[in-house]
Assembly symmetry: C2
Homo-oligomer: 340 residues x 2
DNA sequence: GAGTAAAATGACAGCGTTGTCATTATTATG
DNA sequence: CATAATAATGACAACGCTGTCATTTTACTC
């Protein structure tokens, strides 16, 4: 039988409430009392019973990860990062897949948070970028942290930023450095900020080099292999086809690579291709794809840690405890698909 | 405020204990009482409070899903299926990614089960196929359910079977029906039973048609795009190359498709290619891949339900409550990659 | 050193469920 | 039809913790 708060209290010669104060860092315990209790906790190898805490306390020590994103690798990496941080802080994770296009999505989320008594929510794109969802969470007083694309926080609510703009600028810059002048861009879903940010970075890099973007070379699509295949056909059929392509993600890039091969166009000799996201398969294409790597698990971990800290701060009524937003810049990974 | 067992009891006009009996499937409730309670539960949208159950009861209502599988789609599908069943039974899910090649894996698992007080474990390949892991679980009295490849249960401990053998036989049969005689096979990791079962099905189908398998046409590899690319080069370089290929999964098939194109070999005209698993990208290759679809989420759901039932049975001391193993046969999906 | 404010500690009632055991309704038996 | 055996239901005390509020101890003032 494992130790309970009662046995710790007896061992330390204090009341259970004092032990409770110690384990919750309430800070109103005298240093020598605290030492006694700490020692008792260590001696008995006491670990608070989560079920009892949840039942007795106001909040549950459970965080929620809500996602709707077709990219399984991304979700899993997020999940792993969140999990890691949850574990080291005694929190548990509730996973909730959902459909962001569902008109009742807001009710669904509010319901879930209430019925599972979640302490807070971790939101990734596209949910983290839906104003009405965020508004509803604010209205209901539900704590959350967002992972979103951008180079500065849109407001002062907790978020972790992924600077797709900067990374896209670097990738495009890399292509330009290789001597390319006609560079095509294939976009993903416009609802994802990542797409617009990457596109913004693309344009900025061209501007940096004094190059006027050719609208014919910019194609809208979805984050899919199919988009890559179709778009590259369209691009190669142009009177003056591009010599390089920046695809909004690796799946599009892989599709474009496939499409180019189908038309007998050599990569990278006749066409350089860069992707984004550093998906596992980006090393398995022939040639391997130049891409940008976002440390998704690390981003998730940071987001979770920031959520937990703000949760604890709120509990101690430390009102204006603002946590500065972290920014991650995906790192350029050069592989053979853009060799000279 | 969400409904409690007390409000359900009042609504149904019974005692809270009777409601408890209903939600725990204790089976000693009269049919019409049960109906009344069920209706009250539905009307009030009651969901048992996990913390209270955990605290009051002996076991925790938490299941664990332990996985080590490179295929993100598979994991996510499993997870969704498990989650669905967990939710409808008031269980929670603890996700635990791990590395099956880690020598301390067994300690890691036992530790995790104990410290999180898990009620049971859901194991998928390759963990579900590691005898020492299973042995350790048995020794420690940890309940589990396995998802594994096979056409009959290897023992009488709970499992859900995926009949890769039968499905592989069907795919190979489909290729044979198209008139192919020289059919190649590319295998995945031999540690995965799915590989050996699929290979067995392949051989059986050939034997069914009185064809002797040519060892030159059978290549060992890993479940990866790269294996596909390399293997197909090797196969096409043969004096008498195959006219059809059965790849052990879609990733290999996609690689083979890519490799064939690179060599100027048309698919399906000069080479028919079939994969396995019905991965999301199998519709996005050109041409789309013939494959076999395992309803992974459904399999996971069934496995979870079987675990939960056996957990409840054990609780009621119903000693020899054996649940027959479910068998799922993946379904053949014919697409253009094997058209005549 | 008395009086007061503030800090530290404790007593005790829940939280929502399950387990135990007592009670009541139903069925089977002679 | 009475009685025993069994099935169905209920009353109530835990489970281990936190919140509230009362009480005690300490620090500070004049």
């Amino acid at each position: 039988m494992s130790a309970t708060i009662k046995s710790v209290a007896e061992y330390a010669g204090v009341s259970i409430k004092t032990v409770s104060r110690v384990i919750n860092n309430e800070g109103t315990v005298k240093p020598d009392t605290l030492a006694k209790v700490q020692q008792a906790i260590d001696a008995l190898d006491y670990r608070p019973n989560k079920a009892a805490r949840d039942l007795a306390g106001r909040d549950n020590y459970v965080l929620g990860y809500v996602y709707d994103n077709p990219n399984a690798y991304y979700i899993l990496a997020m999940q792993n990062g969140i999990l890691k941080e949850c574990r080291s802080n005694g929190y548990e994770l509730l996973i909730h897949p959902c459909d962001a296009t569902n008109p009742d999505i807001i009710d669904e989320l509010v319901n879930m948070v209430n019925s599972a008594r979640l302490a807070g929510l971790i939101l990734s794109p596209p949910l983290s970028e839906m104003p009405d969802v965020l508004q509803a969470m604010d209205d209901k007083g539900i704590q959350y942290v967002r992972v979103l694309s951008g180079d500065k926080a849109p407001d002062n609510k907790p978020c972790v930023l992924v600077d797709d703009y900067q990374a896209a600028r670097q990738i495009t810059g890399h292509l330009l450095d290789q001597g390319h002048q006609r560079i095509a861009f294939i976009a993903g879903e416009k609802q994802h900020h990542s797409t617009t940010e990457r596109q913004r970075g693309f344009y900025q890099a061209l501007a940096d080099h004094g190059i006027q973007a050719d609208p014919e070379l910019v194609i809208d699509g979805t984050y899919s292999f199919g988009t890559g295949v179709q778009s590259i056909q369209q691009l190669l059929a142009l009177p003056e086809p591009p010599t390089a392509l920046f695809a909004c993600n690796d799946e599009i890039a892989a599709g474009a690579l496939f499409g180019a091969r189908m038309q007998g166009v050599d990569v990278p000799e006749a066409l350089a291709i860069a992707g984004f996201e550093n998906s596992p398969f980006s090393t398995q294409t022939f040639p391997p794809l130049t891409t940008a790597s976002q440390p998704t698990a690390q981003i998730a971990q940071r987001a979770t840690s920031s959520l937990i800290r703000s949760l604890q701060a709120r509990k101690r009524k430390a009102e204006n405890h603002t946590i500065p937003a972290d920014i991650f810049v995906p790192e350029l990974i050069v592989r053979e698909s853009t060799s000279r």
